[in-house]
């Protein structure tokens, strides 16, 4: 019997309508349809979601950790980019 492992998939779950899909974890499955089924069984069994995306892990392009300095540090000194200078009226949630 072949010992070849099934491909790895990244799972994204939308927890309710209006919110965006969030990375929930990863799993192995032979193909996309089975990945959806497995994601349903592994990640939504406690009513965590209303929609599932699965993406082959090897299709994800990630930033290189050694580039963090040039990618992320410049923004740390730009406080004016945070909308903290507005008064938010009471009763407005999800800001």
């Amino acid at each position: 019997m072949s010992k070849k492992e099934w491909p790895l998939w990244e799972v994204f779950i939308r927890s309710k309508q209006g919110l965006s899909h969030k990375h929930a974890g990863s799993l192995r499955a032979p193909d996309a349809e089975m990945a959806i089924n497995n994601a349903r069984d592994v990640y939504t069994r406690r009513s965590e979601g209303v929609s599932i995306w699965v993406v082959p892990s090897n299709e994800i392009v990630a930033s290189d950790p050694s580039d963090s300095e040039e990618l992320f540090e410049p923004s740390q000194t730009k406080v004016y980019r945070h909308p903290t200078f507005y008064d938010v009226p009471d009763g407005i949630s999800h800001m």
């Binding site: 019997m1 072949s2 099934w6 799993l27 192995r28 499955a29 032979p30 193909d31 349809e33 089975m34 089924n37 497995n38 349903r40 069984d41 592994v42 069994r45």
Partner: protein
């Protein structure tokens, strides 16, 4: 036989099918071929055990003799269990478990779709809730039938062996006696003959895609609905009932 007695027996048949199949699937817990499938099989198991609880509670209420759902599930003797023979068959390898599940799921879904229209409100409500779960069960087992049947040479051979074995229990799913006749007349349960053609059509469609074949008409086994079981049920019950028999009335 009164209508209540017929309904009690029918509820036990539904309850025992789901209890025994749920128990069989629970045997996979910690032994699944991969983590994802281990979780999937135990999810199915929990769905079925939840369904059997509803049927047993209702059966206990209809019987009205003070027995509880636990008494019915754990403290009857083997010949009082009225599940069909298919669900008590041993798990075998993963392919056989999937094949058993597939042949039962097709029937289960068609039955529940019809049972939703029952004139008995309680039964209709249980069917409606269970149907959502069972639709997924069928999707899960159908996908696996196709992938394993039309997979490697070895998986194909194992699946064909499983189909040959489990298909001996199909006719019993459509078994009918005076219990069924009475309840059909009252509009409480559907006539399973009405969805036999749909059963055969769906099975054929999936098996064709899976490059598997139903064997030439084989000797069909039955007896489960009358409490006449294969040798496997006794061993299953010994394990299932162990705690209640050893520590009567224990709760957890």
């Amino acid at each position: 036989m009164t209508k209540e007695e017929a309904l009690f027996t029918y509820l036990l048949r539904r309850a025992d099918d789901t209890l025994i199949l749920g128990h069989r699937l629970s045997e996979w817990c910690g032994h699944g071929p991969i983590l994802e499938e281990d979780i999937a099989l135990t999810n199915l198991s929990l769905d079925l055990i939840g369904q059997c609880t509803s049927y047993f509670q209702y059966a206990a209420q209809i019987e009205g003799k003070g027995r509880t759902e636990d008494d019915l599930a754990f403290l009857r003797i083997e010949k009082d269990y009225v599940n069909c023979l298919m669900v008590e068959q041993p798990n075998g390898d993963f392919g056989k478990t999937i094949t058993r599940q597939f042949f039962y799921d097709v029937y289960h879904k068609l039955l529940l779709e019809a049972l939703v229209n029952s004139k008995d409100e309680q039964l209709s409500a249980i069917a409606e809730k269970s149907l959502k779960e069972v639709k997924y069960h069928l999707r899960h087992s159908s996908e696996w039938m196709i992938r394993l049947g039309d997979g490697t040479e070895e998986s194909h051979e194992r699946m064909q062996n499983a189909v040959d074995d489990i298909s001996r229990f199909i006719d019993e799913l459509f078994y009918k006696d005076q219990v069924d006749e009475m309840l059909i007349k009252e509009g409480i349960i559907p006539d399973s003959a009405d969805f036999r053609a749909a059963y055969d059509a769906y099975v054929t469609e999936v098996l064709e895609e899976a490059t598997l074949q139903l064997p030439e008409k084989m000797w069909q086994l039955s007896g489960g609905r009358k409490g006449v079981h294969s040798e496997h049920l006794g061993y299953l019950l010994a394990e299932l009932q162990y705690m209640q028999r050893t520590y009567p009335n224990m709760e957890w």
